[in-house]
């Protein structure tokens, strides 16, 4: 390549990185905004809001990096939507009226099971299968998305979600190992 072409290639690379950053930030912000729906009707929104922001940053970083990171974050975010939005839906249909209620941790546990099943079922297919980066991004995104919704039910909600996630993921993983 000539000097002028090298210079143009450097500018094109810069344009690519800037474009990719902008693209990833927009999607990270959208993911945070979707997760923030879980804050509706939440009496103490600070911790869940921090989780939503963390989720946005994580999704943006993984999408910017691309490859297995991006695929993992996408799947983790989608799977995490169940424990993220179910508690808000439960509050919306007035399953419980007080600031603390025992039904919400159960809802989080159920959401966690759904997320775990989805994560393991989709993640065990190629090309994600066996890629640590994929699983790391997927687990982090699912936990942050789930925590955004389940922190609204207190630590019991987060604990329920984590338990459900593990239980849901265990079944397909064990089945795959046995096969």
């Amino acid at each position: 390549m000539t000097v002028a072409e090298n210079d143009l290639a450097a500018r094109a690379r810069g344009a690519y990185e800037r474009g990719r950053r902008r693209w990833a930030l927009a999607r990270g912000a959208a993911a945070a905004a979707v997760a923030a729906v879980a804050l509706a009707g939440c009496p103490a929104p600070a911790a869940p809001a921090a989780c939503a922001v963390g989720l946005g940053v994580l999704v943006a970083a993984c999408l910017w990096r691309g490859g297995a990171w991006a695929r993992g974050a996408r799947l983790g975010f989608l799977a995490g939507l169940a424990p993220c939005l179910l508690p808000a839906a439960a509050r919306a249909i007035r399953i419980c009226n007080g600031s603390m209620c025992l039904t919400l941790p159960t809802v989080c546990l159920t959401g966690g099971v759904v997320a775990g099943l989805l994560l393991a079922w989709m993640g065990l297919r190629p090309p994600g299968r066996g890629d640590r980066r994929f699983w790391l991004a997927a687990a982090a995104a699912a936990i942050l998305a789930g925590a955004t919704g389940c922190f609204t039910a207190g630590l019991a909600g987060v604990g329920g979600m984590a338990l459900g996630l593990l239980a849901g993921a265990a079944a397909p993983v064990l089945a795959a190992r046995a096969a």
Partner: protein, 178 residues
């Protein structure tokens, strides 16, 4: 572009959209000649080069947005066509308002030789203007100052063109008999 080239571009662009930075060079090497050739068919040389560069930067800036379901070549050429359209519009605007460009031209730091040559040129221009009809000279002076007499734009442009033609003829008569 032949079929194998298209397929290679498709696969490299998909990899680039997926964040694989190793696909950057193959995409660049394929796209640059393609965009330069495409722009050269639609624009004069200098402008074609600029438009091709702009299109190339735009393609890379939007590479993350590239959808696997789409064909790469039409997507790239669509972006290039947009850039070419913009370059054509710019050129049209430049032709319509050349005085804007003259007004924006920097005039800093002339050397004494340049100043002498410029004043000689001004004298020669004054002499050529003096040979024109007063109406033509007034039109050209107004045009040079960026003033617009109370006339419709196309009429004024036509008068400027006519006066410039006469000025050129007068100039040739006095300075360029070869």
């Amino acid at each position: 572009m032949e079929r194998t080239g298209r397929e290679a571009l498709q696969s490299h662009l998909e990899r680039l959209a997926d964040g694989d930075r190793d696909a950057f060079h193959p995409v660049f090497v394929r796209l640059w000649p393609l965009l330069r050739g495409f722009a050269a068919r639609c624009l004069p040389w200098g402008e074609a080069e600029d438009a091709a560069q702009e299109a190339l930067l735009r393609v890379f800036a939007r590479a993350a947005d590239f959808d696997r379901g789409r064909e790469a070549l039409p997507w790239v050429l669509g972006i290039a066509a947009n850039e070419i359209r913009t370059a054509r519009q710019r050129r049209r605007r430049r032709r319509e308002h050349p005085a804007d460009l003259l007004a924006g031209r920097p005039d800093g730091g002339r050397s004494p030789e340049e100043t002498a040559a410029a004043s000689e040129l001004e004298r020669a221009l004054d002499a050529a203007l003096a040979t024109l009809r007063p109406a033509d000279a007034a039109t050209l002076l107004a045009y040079a100052r960026g003033e617009r007499p109370d006339l419709p734009g196309p009429t004024f442009r036509k008068r400027v063109e006519r006066a410039l033609g006469r000025l050129r003829a007068a100039w040739r008569l006095n300075h360029d008999r070869r």
